[in-house]
């Protein structure tokens, strides 16, 4: 995308711009919001601050309440409890058309009877903008999403990717303070989805707008968002940056939901200076770094991401004095899964457990590859392990 397009200023132009917060204040504050359908508590006491200019992702499996939360932000559902403050003003009970928030719908919800131009102009006409201003803004939006020449088409004359762009342009046209995106890329094929992810990030950065995206695809959330809120059964399980979420998941459930992970159930726990020695059922005693937060009383497990497990034929060359600091597990290759960039090996440990190791295929020829039933040593450092409670 080129940079010569006019930069829209959300703060100055948005409908109801007077509600825009001062710098540093959260744009959106969700306070103890809950919603019950019949006896099902879809959203169960969610509190969350979102700063202006953030790209925030709500991530969770289907039925976790993320869409209901988004619909409450848009105004399609009213929360039973709690407040939703936008720029300090409670909008929890405001109707959708009264909010300076726009939404990009999952299947785009384009008006089938209106042309691309009229779809994009719909919100502008409702804001009673002058005819000339509407024409300018529509042209600007059309250029922004690169739909030039298609203005007169109806939605059913567009491809899936083009429809997605119209939906985006329509939602952006009013320059909302907050843009909600409900699974915006779910209907696109993989290649197009990846390109669009990049374009959305670029667009968000350039417009300086605040985006909240709902997705069930953890890769999508990790790629695009600056912060991710993981939802489970109507509650926020963890709110963190993609890196923190992946490297320091707060619970076993989150660790398993975000990416692949090896888990070993803890049976005993010993303190050894700055380290813990944890006896596990599958992998024997493992040395792990002392967790930052004190470990709770619940059932513990030791977790290690597959790409942090190294494989070698003879085991690591120990540095003097650090021998105990390395977890060394002997086993045989039980399964090989070639994925192109990486190969995932499943190693059956002599201690009975199973460990997965993801190895980068850094050379084109397979001189380093392991074969089935080959004896290997899987090893990893204490710092790469995470102690989790269930």
């Amino acid at each position: 995308m080129t940079d010569d397009l006019p930069r829209t200023d959300a703060a100055a132009d948005a409908v109801g711009a007077d509600a825009y917060p001062a710098a540093g204040q959260p744009l959106l504050r969700i306070e103890g919001v809950a919603k019950t359908f019949g006896t099902f508590r879809a959203v169960d006491g969610v509190s969350l601050d979102i700063k202006a200019g953030e790209f925030f992702a709500l991530l969770g499996p289907s039925g976790c309440g993320k869409t209901t939360l988004l619909r409450m932000l848009a105004g399609f559902e009213a929360p039973d409890e709690g407040r939703i403050l936008l720029g300090g003003k409670d909008i929890a009970q405001a109707l959708p058309h009264e909010r300076p928030i726009n939404m990009m719908f999952q299947n785009y919800a384009l008006f089938p009877h209106l042309s691309v131009r009229d779809n994009i102009a719909f919100g502008l006409k409702r804001a009673r903008l002058a005819r000339a201003d509407i024409a300018t803004r529509v042209a600007e939006m059309v250029a922004l999403v690169k739909l030039e020449g298609l203005e007169k088409r109806k939605p059913d004359q567009l491809s899936g990717g083009q429809r997605q762009r119209v939906a985006l342009a329509r939602a952006l046209a009013r320059r909302p303070q907050l843009l909600l995106l409900d699974e915006p890329l779910a209907a696109l094929d993989k290649k197009l989805r990846e390109n669009t992810q990049g374009e959305l990030m670029e667009l968000q950065r350039r417009l300086g707008m605040t985006f909240i995206i709902v997705t069930h695809d953890q890769e999508e959330a990790m790629t695009m968002a600056s912060r991710i809120g993981v939802m489970k059964a109507g509650k926020l399980a963890q709110v963190a940056s993609p890196r923190e979420l992946y490297e320091a998941p707060r619970s076993r459930w989150i660790a398993e939901f975000v990416g692949d992970i090896n888990l070993f159930e803890a049976e005993s726990k010993l303190r050894d200076g700055h380290r813990l020695v944890i006896g596990t059922s599958g992998a024997g005693a493992l040395v792990v770094a002392e967790p930052r937060e004190p470990v709770g009383a619940g059932k513990l497990s030791v977790a290690i991401r597959p790409e942090k497990v190294k494989l070698s034929r003879r085991g690591p060359v120990s540095e003097a004095g650090h021998e105990t600091a390395i977890n060394r597990l002997d086993g045989v290759i039980a399964d090989i899964c070639y994925l192109g960039g990486t190969t995932t090996y499943k190693v059956k440990l002599d201690t009975g457990g199973m460990v997965q190791a993801s190895v980068a295929n850094s050379a084109r020829l397979d001189v380093d590859a392991y074969s089935l039933n080959q004896h290997v040593v899987a090893w990893f450092t204490p710092d790469d392990c995470v102690v989790l409670t269930s």
């Binding site: 409908v15 848009a74 109707l95 058309h97 919800a109 009877h113 719909f122 409702r126 329509r170 009013r174």
Partner: protein, 304 residues
């Protein structure tokens, strides 16, 4: 390849079946009526002449052809009675259709927004009255609307009127009867399009700043136009030719074309004039009929 040939014959028959139907049950009878409309009345059995007698020979047939005339059509155009009847038929049909749309739309919309299982119940409620004979239902309305009928009893009991209101033999009674009878024909096509419409489109409109009434006028209503068109034509066309309801419920001072036809046919025994009146009615209705055809075709194309 041989498989294709096996299926070719029934497929071809299926393709021409509608045309066979049209020729047998529409064009041939239409030809009879057209022929009668061009002849003169006579005291005979059947009561018109000249008759085609294939056994009478070529000359007699030619004479019969020569005797055909368009006098009946000229009569229709010159006599106010017929012109008024046509105008009244079209006015009544237009008014009744407008009323039907006004009443039917909210009902259809409400039905389409009900939870799934209640939609089926609502549908049955709309259709069930059809299981009773049409005539019985109109007679029931006579009962309700008569001098000491249910409606007047209720109005008197509620002290809304001090003495019974004359309902029967008025246009009001006729409109009640027509609206009541044709309501399902308006509701069902409207319901079909509204139920098919995704509610998320209405959400999108309100998300983009449209208050509820704009959501309706800019999104819901335009998207339901195929249903509106179908419902309007499905009601308008038969109401123009309606005979029973105006005859039983309306006064006798102004007649619809259906009643005029009946009079010419059975009371005056003037088959040729009645036939001519029927032909003109058909031509008048051809416009909305063709509109309906086109609408259906476009919908089919969109449905693909």
């Amino acid at each position: 390849m041989s498989g294709r040939r096996i299926f070719a014959r029934p497929a071809r028959f299926a393709a021409i079946a509608p045309y066979v139907w049209m020729v047998l049950f529409f064009l041939v009878p239409f030809g009879f009526v057209l022929k009668i409309s061009l002849s003169q009345t006579a005291i005979a059995q059947p009561p018109y002449e000249p008759l085609f007698d294939p056994t009478a020979g070529w000359e007699a047939l030619k004479a019969a052809f020569a005797a055909l005339s368009i006098d009946n059509f000229k009569l229709l155009a010159s006599d106010d009675l017929y012109v008024f009847a046509y105008v009244r038929s079209l006015t009544v049909a237009a008014t009744a259709t407008a009323l039907l749309l006004l009443i039917g739309y909210p009902i259809a919309y409400g039905m389409a927004r009900l939870p799934r299982r209640w939609q089926a119940v609502a549908m049955v409620l709309v259709i069930v009255p059809f299981w009773t004979s049409f005539l019985i239902r109109i007679y029931a309305w006579i009962n309700i609307l008569q001098h000491d009928g249910l409606l007047n009893q209720i109005l008197l009991a509620l002290h809304l009127v001090s003495r019974p209101v004359v309902w029967l033999s008025t246009d009001t009674a006729m409109y009640i009867g027509i609206v009541y009878s044709y309501l399902p024909f308006m509701i069902l096509p409207l319901y079909a399009t509204l139920a098919k419409m995704e509610p998320v489109l209405e959400e999108a409109a309100s998300d983009l700043g449209a208050p509820p009434w704009q959501v309706f006028w800019l999104v819901t209503f335009p998207l339901s136009l195929p249903g509106v068109g179908a419902g309007v034509l499905l009601c308008f066309i038969p109401i123009v030719g309606e005979f029973v309801i105006p005859d039983l419920l309306a006064g006798s001072n102004s007649l619809m074309i259906g009643q005029t036809l009946w009079l010419e046919f059975f009371t005056n025994k003037d088959w040729p004039v009645a036939s001519a009146a029927a032909i003109v009615l058909l031509v008048v209705l051809l416009v909305p009929l063709l509109l309906y055809e086109r609408l259906q075709k476009r919908q089919l194309e969109q449905g693909r």
